[in-house]
Amino acid sequence: MSAMLLPKDKWPEFTGRLAGKNLFAPALQGGIKKFAPVAAGDTVTLDEGNTTVPPKALLFPQTETLFRFAEGEEGMELPAIDEAAVLLGVRPCDARAMAIVDKLFRWDYEDPYYLKRRELATIIGLACSEPCLNCFCTSVGGGPASTEGLDILMVDLGESYLLEGLTDKGQALLDEFKDLLQEAGADALQRKEQLAQEAAAKIKRSVDTAGIPEALPGLWEDPLWQRVSAACLGCGICTYLCPTCHCFDIQDEVEGAAGRRCRMWDSCMYAEYTKHTSGHNPRPTRRERTRNRINHKYSYYVDKFGVIACVGCGRCSNLCPVNIDLIDILRQVKAAP
C-alpha cells in the first residue's frame, strides 16, 4: 500500500482518465447534489459538504431489476452486472456506511446484486475539512478521515491531494496513475492527521452514544417515542437518504404476458411497510415506526453485527421537514430514566 501525492494541476488529467473508468462524482443536478456519471472532459469539483443522495444509490439502486420473465419462455433473464465503476469523492461517513451495509448483504444470504456492484466499484474517499452543521460522525465511531469502506482515501492538502491506497483494489488503481503521482512523505501524512483533528474539532453537534444500545430495550414503552414522533409525517426522507438504510420492497411489474421482478427502496417509516394483508399493522403508528428506526440502527444492528448502523452523516436531521432530529432523539434516549 502506498501514499501518493497528486498535485492539483494534474487533477484535470487524473479525473479525465478516471472518466474512462465509469466514474461517478458529486454533482449538482437540478439543484440536488448527488453522485452522477462523469464524462470525459467534465470538470470535477469537490467542494465542501455532502451529497443529498448518498452514494449507496449506486450500489443499491432505488429500483433494480432482479430478473425478467415472459409467459411461454423457459426460465428467466438476469440482468448483467459487469461494469466496473469508480466513485470519487465519497465522504468517509458514507464509505463507512457501505462497510456497515456490507455486513447485512453478506449475512445469511449473500445478495448477488449488491455484492457484485460493490466488488466492481472502487471507492475513492475524500476526507472532510469543513463538517456540516449536523455532522456527528465522531459520536458513532467515525471521523473526518475515517478509512473504513474505502479503497483509497484522498485528503486535500491545499497544493495537492494525498491519496492513500487502502485495499488491493485501491492500490491497483493508484498504480495505474503512477505517472501523475509522487510518493508522499511523512510530512504529508502528518499534515493529514492534523487536518483530520482540526476537522473533528469543528464538529459542532455530538451525542454520547455509549450505553444507548443497552438502554434502548428498556425504553420500549417510554413516553419519549410519542413525543419525538408526534410531528412525523411518515415520509421516506430520513430513510431513503440515510446511507445505511437498506430496506427494499419486491414487486412484479407485469404487462400482459411479460414482466420483471424488481426491488425498490422501502422505508420503515411508511405505514404500509409492516401492514399485513389482513389490515393488521404491528407498527400501527408513527410512534412504533420511529421507535423501530432508532432501535434498528442503535440496538438491533449492534446486536447482530456489533456496530451501530448510523454513521453520523446528519442527513436525517438536516432534511427532516418537521425537525425530527436524530441527535436530539439520541440525547433524549440518553436522558431517559
Binding site: 409467459e71 404487462e255 400482459g256 404476458a257 389490515g279
Partner: protein, 666 residues
C-alpha cells in the same frame, strides 16, 4: 379462491361483413396466443343458433369461464350472447365483446390495418374478460301504471290498450283537448273515411275509461326514477274554469269581449275564437279554457266593468283565482306520443307563403275542406275583399321534405297521399276546377295508395313533374314558375290557390321531452328508437317507449300500429309486476372510503348516501349505493379520490388492462 380464467375467443365473420375486411383467421390465431385464452375459433355467424351452440359446447366441454365474442357492436348483440352464456350455465356477465364490425370492418378499407386493429380490440377484450366478475341482477316491484305523454291518436290508442289490459294510465295532453293532429284532418287517405268520425269515439272512450286518468291542458314537469318506478310530476295549468262545474254550454264564449278576434289554433288560424274557448266542437273534455295570454282580465287585470264570461256562465264555473296545480304519481312505464309540427313554409320564401294569403299549407287546406272548419267545408278564398271559389288550384309537394337546404333530408311519408286526397276533395267540391300537382316523385307505397293515386289521376288531376322555382302575383292570380322535367318545358302556371304539401317535423319543443326522459335524436331530429329494426318502439332509456310521429313521420295506420306496439312493450313490466335491476351498478369499498361525499354530490340519481359504520371501534361515515337507484354511469367513480366506488364491469382494474392492451404494452 377465484378460478383461473379460461377464456374462449369467438371471431365472427358476419358473412362477409367482417371477413371481407378483417382476416378473421389471423385474428383467431392471434387470439390463441393471448394470456388465459384456451380456445379461439371463428364462424360465419356467431349470433346464429349454430354459432351460439359452439360457445355453449365449449363452455361445457372445455370448461370456459370467460367468453370474448369479436363481432358486431355490444349495443347490438350483447344480450344475445349473455343469454347464450347463461344457457350454458355460465354467469352472463362473464362476456366481453370486441366490436370489429361497426367500429372496424365497416369503417376501414385497408385489410391489414383493420386486421391489426381487430387483434388489438380482441386483446383488450381478453384483458378485460379475464378480470370480469360474476354479477346477479335483482328484481324490484314495478308500479302497475303507465304515463302516456300526448293524447293524439297514438297516445289515445296506447292509453286505451294499456287501460284495457287492466292497468292505470295517466294520459297527459298539453292542449285543452285530446285528439291531436288527427282531429284537425277532414278525410283520411286512401279510404276517405271521415277522420273525426273514427277518432271522436276513441277520444270519448279515453276520457271515460275507468283506468285512464286524463290530464288535459297539462304538461309533464319532472320525471325521475327508473323502469318500474318512475316518479312523475305533472303541471295542470290553470284553465280559470272549474271543469267540475263547466257544462260546455258555450254561453261564456259568446259573451267574451274578444269573441271572434283571436286566431284559432285548431283551425290553423283560419278561424277565430275568443279568449275563453273550446278548441273545436267535439273537444274532449268539452270544457272551456281561458287563454291567459289573451284574456283582458288576466293580462290587464280589467275587462270592462267586469268579465262578461263570469256573468254569462250559468254554472258559475269561471274562476280567475285558479292556479297551476302540480300532481305527482308513480308509474312503471312511460310512453311518448308527442306527435309532430308541420314544416314552416316561410323557410322557403320562393313560395311566397308569408306574402300571399292564397298560398296555404296542407294542414290549412284540411281545415278549409272540413265540414267543421271555418268555412263549413266550402273551399273559398279571398281575392281582395271578394270571396271567391278558386278554379285554378295547384299543389306543390315535398315542401320541407327531401330538402337538404332546410335541413330535412327525409321523406315525410304522408304528403304525397294527403295531396292526392285533397286534390280529390277539391275536384269533388269544385268539379270544374283545374287541379295540378307539382311533384318530384310520387311515393304511393302503402296499402291502397297506388290505387288511390291512380284514381285521382283518372279524375282529371294533372301531375306535373317539376319543382317550382318561384311563385309571384300577377293581377289577381298567382303565377307558378316551374319546369316540367319530363318534357323539359319551362312553364308559368296561373292559379287562384296554391297548397303547399308541407312535411312533418319534430315538435319545436321536443328538447323538453329529451331532457325530461334522457332521449336521443336521430339525424332527422325525431326521437331515436333503441334499434331501427328490432326495437323500433323502445328507447335507450329502459321503460320509455315511443309511438307515432314523435319517432318519425308516419300515417295514421302506422301510428296506431306503433302505438299498439309501444303499449304492448310498456305492458311487459306492468304485467310482470317486476323489473330486473341492472347488476352493473356502483359498489363501495367501505374499507377505503373516506366518506368525503364527493360521490353523493356527483350522483345525478341520488343513489348514494353517507352512512355511519363502525370501523375498528370508530364511527365513521362511508358511502353506500342504493342499487335500485344507481344506473351504473360511473361518474362517481371518476370523482372518487380514493377509488373506493367502482361501477361493476367497468372498474378501474378492468379498464386499465384494456388501456394497456390498446396501448400496445401488452
Amino acid at each position: 379462491m377465484t378460478e383461473k380464467p379460461k377464456v374462449g375467443v369467438y371471431v365472427c365473420h358476419c358473412g362477409i361483413n367482417i371477413a371481407a375486411t378483417v382476416d378473421v383467421e389471423a385474428v383467431t390465431e392471434y387470439a390463441k396466443g393471448l394470456p388465459n385464452v384456451v380456445i379461439a375459433r371463428n364462424y360465419a355467424y356467431m349470433c346464429s343458433d349454430p354459432g351460439q351452440l359452439l360457445i355453449k359446447e365449449d363452455i361445457k366441454e372445455k370448461g370456459l369461464n370467460r367468453v370474448v365474442v369479436a363481432s358486431c357492436s355490444p349495443r347490438m348483440h350483447e344480450p344475445t350472447f349473455r343469454k347464450a352464456l347463461q344457457e350454458a350455465g355460465l354467469n352472463p356477465y362473464f362476456l366481453e365483446m370486441a366490436n370489429i364490425r361497426e367500429q372496424c370492418s365497416w369503417v376501414h378499407e385497408d385489410r391489414e390495418a383493420a386486421t391489426e386493429k381487430a387483434k388489438q380490440l380482441v386483446a383488450a377484450a381478453v384483458s378485460k374478460a379475464r378480470l370480469l366478475e360474476p354479477l346477479t341482477s335483482r328484481e324490484v316491484d314495478a308500479e302497475p301504471s303507465a304515463l302516456v305523454i300526448g293524447a293524439g291518436i297514438a297516445g289515445i290508442q296506447a292509453a286505451l290498450d294499456i287501460a284495457d289490459a287492466g292497468f292505470k294510465v295517466y294520459l297527459v295532453e298539453k292542449s285543452p283537448s285530446v285528439g291531436g293532429r288527427m282531429a284537425q284532418l277532414d278525410k283520411t287517405f286512401p279510404t276517405l273515411d271521415c277522420s273525426a268520425c273514427i277518432l271522436t269515439p276513441k277520444m270519448v272512450d279515453a276520457a271515460n275509461h275507468p283506468n285512464i286518468e286524463l290530464f288535459t291542458y297539462s304538461e309533464v314537469e319532472e320525471v325521475s326514477g327508473y323502469i318500474g318506478n318512475f316518479e312523475v310530476k305533472v303541471r295542470k295549468k290553470a284553465r280559470y274554469v272549474d271543469v267540475s262545474k263547466c257544462t260546455g254550454c258555450g254561453a261564456c264564449a259568446k259573451e267574451c269581449r274578444l269573441a271572434g278576434r283571436i286566431p284559432n289554433e285548431f283551425d290553423e288560424g283560419l278561424g277565430k275564437r275568443g279568449a275563453i274557448y273550446l278548441p273545436f266542437p267535439q273537444a274532449v273534455p268539452a270544457k272551456y279554457t281561458i287563454d291567459p295570454e289573451k284574456c283582458l282580465f288576466l293580462t290587464r287585470g280589467k275587462c270592462g266593468k267586469g268579465p262578461k264570461c263570469v256573468e254569462a256562465c250559468p254554472a258559475g264555473a269561471i274562476d280567475f283565482e285558479q292556479e297551476d296545480e302540480i300532481v305527482s304519481f308513480r308509474v312503471g312505464a312511460i310512453l311518448v306520443a308527442t306527435g309532430f309540427d308541420v314544416f314552416d313554409p316561410t323557410k322557403k320564401p320562393e313560395y311566397g307563403y308569408a306574402d300571399y294569403p292564397n298560398v296555404i299549407t296542407g294542414l290549412e287546406m284540411e281545415r278549409l275542406v272540413s265540414a267543421s272548419g271555418p268555412t263549413g267545408g266550402n273551399i273559398v278564398i279571398h281575392n281582395g275583399e271578394e270571396e271567391i271559389v278558386p278554379k285554378d288550384i295547384a299543389f306543390i309537394q315535398c315542401v320541407g321534405s327531401r330538402d337538404k337546404s332546410v335541413g330535412n333530408e327525409y321523406c315525410s311519408r304522408v304528403c304525397c297521399m294527403y295531396t292526392a286526397k285533397q286534390a280529390h276533395l277539391v275536384k269533388d267540391k269544385i268539379p270544374d276546377a283545374r287541379v295540378r300537382v307539382y311533384y318530384m316523385d310520387v311515393r304511393a307505397f302503402g296499402k291502397g295508395f297506388e290505387e288511390f293515386y291512380d284514381r285521382v289521376r283518372r279524375e282529371g288531376i294533372r301531375y306535373v313533374r317539376g319543382n317550382p322555382s318561384e311563385i309571384f302575383r300577377r293581377g289577381n292570380k298567382l303565377v307558378i314558375k316551374v319546369e316540367d322535367t319530363l318534357t323539359a318545358t319551362p312553364l308559368e302556371d296561373e292559379v287562384d290557390l296554391v297548397v303547399l304539401a308541407v312535411g312533418l317535423e319534430p315538435r319545436r319543443d321536443a328538447r323538453k321531452i329529451i331532457e325530461l326522459l334522457r332521449l336521443s335524436q336521430s339525424p332527422d331530429r325525431f326521437f331515436l328508437e333503441a334499434h331501427p329494426k328490432l326495437r323500433p318502439v323502445d328507447t335507450a332509456t329502459d321503460g320509455v317507449y315511443l309511438a307515432g310521429c314523435c319517432q318519425g313521420p308516419k300515417d295514421i295506420p302506422d301510428t296506431v300500429a306503433q302505438a299498439k306496439g309501444a303499449a304492448a312493450s310498456a305492458l311487459i313490466p306492468l304485467a310482470r309486476g317486476k323489473v330486473a335491476i341492472d347488476a352493473q351498478v356502483a359498489e363501495v369499498n367501505e374499507a377505503t372510503c373516506r366518506g368525503c361525499g364527493f360521490c353523493v354530490s356527483i350522483c345525478p340519481y341520488s343513489a348514494i348516501e353517507l352512512v355511519t359504520v363502525n370501523r375498528m371501534g370508530h364511527m365513521v361515515e362511508v358511502a353506500r349505493v342504493n342499487e335500485a337507484l344507481c344506473k351504473g354511469c360511473g361518474s362517481c367513480s371518476a370523482g372518487c379520490l380514493s377509488d373506493s366506488i367502482q361501477p361493476r364491469s367497468f372498474r378501474d382494474r378492468q379498464i386499465l388492462p384494456q388501456i394497456a392492451a390498446l396501448g400496445g404494452t401488452r
